[in-house]
Each structure stands twice: as C-alpha cells, then as structure tokens.
Amino acid sequence: MDHTSTFERILRGILLALVVLFFMFPIFWILLMSFQTNESILRMPPSVFFTPTFDNYIALVTGEMRTAAGSLQLNFMQNLWNSVLLSTTSVAVALVLGVPAAYAFARFKFRLGEDIAFTLLSFRFAPPLLVLLPLSLYFKSLGLTNTYIGLIWVYQLICLPLILWIVRGYFEDLSPDIEHAHRIAGYSWFQTFRKIAVPLALPGIAAAGLLAFIFSWNNFVFALVLASADKQPVTVGALAFVTASGIQYGQIAAAIVMSVIPTFVLAMFAQRYLVEGLSLGAVKG
C-alpha cells in the first residue's frame, strides 16, 4: 500500500504538523495562559517561557477570586455543573422525543407530515432573540423563570430540530425491507424499531446527539435572559471574570480549558463510536 517515497512522507508530515499547529494554536495558547498570572500573560513581548502556577484553577475550584481590588466570590463550579446538567438532560429529552419522531417522519407518510417536520426545522433559523422576549413573559407567568425545567424546555429549540433532521436522514437511508424482514418473522412494530432501526441508525443518532450537546453547551443567550446566576451555565458565568479591576485572562483561560473538557471527552468517545458504526456499514441492498 505504501509506495510513497521517504521524501513525500516527510513532506506530508510537515504539512500535517503545520495545519494542526494552525488550527490548534489558539487552544494551545489558552492552555498556556491558564497556567500564568495575569501579569505574565500581559507582558510585552509575549513569551512561552514562564513559571507555571495553578492559582487560576485553584481560584475556580474554591470559588474565590483574588484581584488587586480584593477578593470576589466565583460561581464557576456551579456554572459548570449547570452546563453539564442542562446539556445532558436536554439532549436526553430530545433523543427520547426526537428519535421516534424522526422514524415516523422517515417511514410513514401522513397528512401535514412534511409541514410539521419543516416547522420544527424552522426553529433552527429563527433568531433566538425574536422568541426570547415573549418567551420570558410567558415564563414569568408560568413560573418557569430561573428553573432547570424551563431552560431544558427552551433548549429543545436547539436540540430537537437537529436530532430530528439528522436522524431522519439516517432512517431514510436504511432499507425498509430490513425492517420488514424482521417484522414478518413475528416481531412487533416497536420491537423492530428498537432492535433493528435504532441500532442501524446509531452512528447518526450519536452524531446528532453530539452536535446537539455542543450547541446546548455553547448556548449563551437563553440562559442569560431566562435564568439567574445559580442556574446559569459556564458560557454566561464567564461574564464574572470581567471585573471592575480588569479582565482576569488567566482565569478565563482556565475556565475555558475546564469547560472544554466535557465536550472534548464526549467527542473522543462519540468519534470512536461513529467510526465503529460506519465501518459496520454496508447497509445497502
């Protein structure tokens, strides 16, 4: 298989390294920043040599930020927990609702089916700000403001359309006859859905779930308007680092690193799973 010369291989290695460096540089820089004090970050000219410190991480974990102007309380760990809770629950709810719905849209033709599917998709291109103001009024009168349930509900606007449309495509690509063969062998509709359709569409479901998770995780504006500090995710919580006495770059960097970790781990896990699912493949014919 390998007919390439040594020179070509080296060249390819260098090019790959350059591309990786280019794309990874900001993240790498942030990682470095997270181990520095604000002074060493802001010194001119910038340098990659510094005495590493864990102060930023300690401040985040203990929830106490010491600045030149004194000590501040931080909610970071609570925010991180909120992010995990909101994103995971939202994606779980969206999967439970969305996967069967996607199956229905893919397999059964019913009146208004396309219209309903399209309406759900249109949630994706409606600007959130458009719905936020009326929504915040409704939430007030329903008592949903600043509740996890309320936020998870709004997060369905992000997750549900994604899952519905991606998973639907996967279901449509599966030959219905594979399911028919299973049904005719004496299994019910639901058993076939569970044992044949869902396992075969799993790569798609994993991809959709991962995307929905990332979108939920990165959401900012819903929680900003509809919740207060104790229910807000890291994206909103990070605002606290902009203090009266200056911006805490080191802590922001540490916060970014810590808040990227869950998504990163999930992506690594899901990626392995995606590849596995795809290589099972050959769902043709």
Partner: protein, 372 residues
C-alpha cells in the same frame, strides 16, 4: 399449508403529483401446498402484489385471506407469511447464520434445534461455509441464498419468494431448483414465486400467473399456458424465442381457409383441418392476429417464402431468421439447417399449430383447430 385467496385486489400508489395503479382487480387462488409462479415484465406489479400479501403495503381495495382468515388487515407479524426479498435485505450486524436464524429465535425454538434447521437449509443452498461471515463480506449470490434460506427455514402458512435465484449462475440455479422444489413439496409449502426465468417457472410451478400492467392475464399450468395462451400478450410473452404474430386477412371458401399475410404471402388449409366450432368462429371475421411459435415452423419449401437473414446452429437447434414481406420471422428447427444469409427459403406450419387471436381485443379465438 394454507390456501391463499386474493380477490379484487387493487393497489394504487398515490403521491402528490402522480398516482400509479400498480395492481388492478387481481384475483388469484393458491391451493394448499401449491407452488405458483408470478411471471411478467419488469414493473408489472409482481412485487407490489407480494408486499400486499406480506403486509408491507396497504391494500387499496379488495381482500386477502389465508387459511380462511382475512389477513390484509393484520400486521405483518400476525400473518404467518415468510418472504425472501428481491433486494435480500439481510441485517448487516448479524452473521449469515444469525440472519437465517432470527425468525427461529422469534418463534422461541430451542437453540440446538435452531442450529440443525439452519445447517440443513444452508447445506441445501450451498452456503454452509459462510454462516459465520457478515453480509457485507459475501457475494451478491450468497446474500441472495441467505435471504432465501431465511425465508425457507421457518414454518409459515405461505412462502413468498421474490426472484430468489436471480443472481445465480445457470448451473447452480438448475441444481438449486431441483432441491428447492423437493423441499417445498416435502414440507407441503404453499408458495408464490416471482421470477423472470420461464424455465424456472416451468420447472418449479404447478401453475403460472402471467401479469401485465397490473392485470392478471392468465392463470394456468405451464403446459396449458404454452398450448393455449388466453390472449396475444401471454402468447407473445411465454415461450423462447417468442411467438411470431402476423396480421392476417381470412378468406373462408367452400373447401379451404386462407390466411393472407401482409407482404403478399398466405397460408391455406383444407376446411377439414378446423373443427366446426372454429369454422363458425372464423366465419364472421375478416381480420385476425395469427400466432405461430418458432418451433412450429417446418423449414423447407412452405408457402411463407422469404430470404434468410441469419442462421445459427446452437448445438442442439438451429435458429433461422427469415425476412418475409419486410418483417423478421424467427423459426427453430431441431435439425441442423445449412443456409446462408440471402438464400431463398419457405416456411410452413400445421393448422394444429396455429393460434388465432381477435385482431382488436387480442383475445384468443382458437388454438390448433379447436376453440379457445
């Protein structure tokens, strides 16, 4: 084991822009243990019919009953029907063996018995060696046999086999044909088999249903289908090479009946070659469609004269194509015929081998001197 009755079955596929009437008022009865072949050109509605019986397509109108039980309202899992799919449709994450076994698992058979059944079927279909492989890693023909095995391995009231051997080479097909027929007979399986291969239909089926444009054209034994086609379509569809069809003018005189064929040639027979009934049927007509099978022609100095276009010895028969009055007529002789293209030749046929069809409706009027 079951008797299947389709009555007035209709299938219309409707979408926003078009509607396709795929099956039209289809009546068919399959007796318990009978093997029926469904024969017809591509797109004539064979698969649609099977899918309605299996329950994957709703019946637009009409009814289906199996063993006296109306089944078209039941879900597929309750119908007791096994099916081998045109596109195999094996389940990719399971091995060939597991694919074949999964209906047995649903029936909660003991594992040991499952294994024996799977092994027997696999041996019959010559796929015993690939039971541990995955569908994506075996050939199309092997997948097809696995799909057939999956249908045959289980007990069902009715077996639907949609082109079960289309991917196989003729030698293997011939071998499997015999084994499958034996298997179906042994287990007294009521079967509908879709095929494009007339030899297969003739060899396997007790009766053949010929379909065209969603309409059942004729339902008869293989022999009857060949000897007495009900209309022009079945006449032309059944038989290889296909029947020659001529537009002919009839002149019935006192002593002879003459068929004048376009191109200035004619066939004449003594009146006594036709039964009185046929004479009466013909008497009123001026134009008919005359069908003569290639095998029925006698090659030599007959009245249908023309120039040889091609002459091919196939090892056991000769195919001679002749240009008669501007159209190509195909004849087959079991003897070796040595003619060069351009040679003058004459074909003749016995009155007993004529198929006479109504020129307008295409319905059969008479076969071989007796009424249809």
């Amino acid at each position: 084991m079951g008797e299947l009755v389709l009555s007035k079955l209709d299938k219309v596929y409707r979408s926003k822009r078009t509607s396709v009437h795929a099956v039209k008022s289809f009546d068919l009865t399959v007796k318990p243990g009978e093997i029926v072949a469904l024969l017809g050109s591509s797109g004539c509605g064979k698969t649609s019919t099977l899918r309605m019986i299996a329950g994957f397509e709703e019946v637009t109108s009409g009814s289906i009953s199996l063993d006296g039980r109306v089944i078209h309202t039941l879900s597929p899992s309750q119908r007791g029907v096994a099916m081998a799919f045109e596109a195999y449709s094996l389940y990719p994450p399971l091995t060939i063996g597991e694919n074949i076994a999964f209906a047995l698992k649903a029936a909660r058979l003991p594992a040991a018995q499952q294994q024996i059944l799977v092994k027997n079927i696999a041996e019959m279909l010559e796929i015993a060696g690939i039971l541990n492989r995955y569908p994506s890693s075996v050939s199309g023909g092997q997948q097809q046999r696995a799909s057939l095995g999956r249908a045959l391995v289980r007990k069902a009231s009715l077996y639907l086999l949609d082109e079960p051997m289309g991917q196989l080479e003729p030698q293997l097909r011939a071998v499997l044909r015999g084994r499958i027929k034996h298997f179906l007979r042994e287990n007294n399986c009521t079967t509908i088999l879709v095929t494009h291969d007339q030899t297969e239909a003739n060899a396997l089926a007790d009766r053949i249903a010929v379909m065209e444009g969603g309409v059942l054209q004729q339902y008869a034994t293989p022999a009857e289908l060949k000897a007495r086609p009900a209309n022009l379509f079945t006449g032309a569809f059944i038989g290889e090479p296909p029947m020659n069809i001529f537009d002919a003018k009839i002149t019935a005189a006192a002593r002879e009946i003459r068929f004048d064929i376009e191109g200035g040639v004619s066939l004449a027979y003594p009146v006594s070659d036709f039964s009185p009934d046929v004479q009466r049927l013909i008497a009123g007509r001026r134009e008919v469609a005359l069908g003569i099978r290639p095998h029925a022609f006698h090659i030599g100095n007959g009245a249908l004269r023309g120039k040889v276009i091609s002459c091919q010895w196939l090892g056991d028969q000769t195919h001679v194509a002749v240009d008669i009055g501007g159209r190509t007529v195909v004849s087959v002789s079991h003897a070796r015929v040595d003619k060069q293209p351009g040679n003058e030749i004459g074909l003749s046929a016995l009155a007993a081998d004529l198929h006479i069809f109504d020129a307008e409706t295409g319905r059969a009027v008479a076969h071989g001197g007796s009424p249809a």
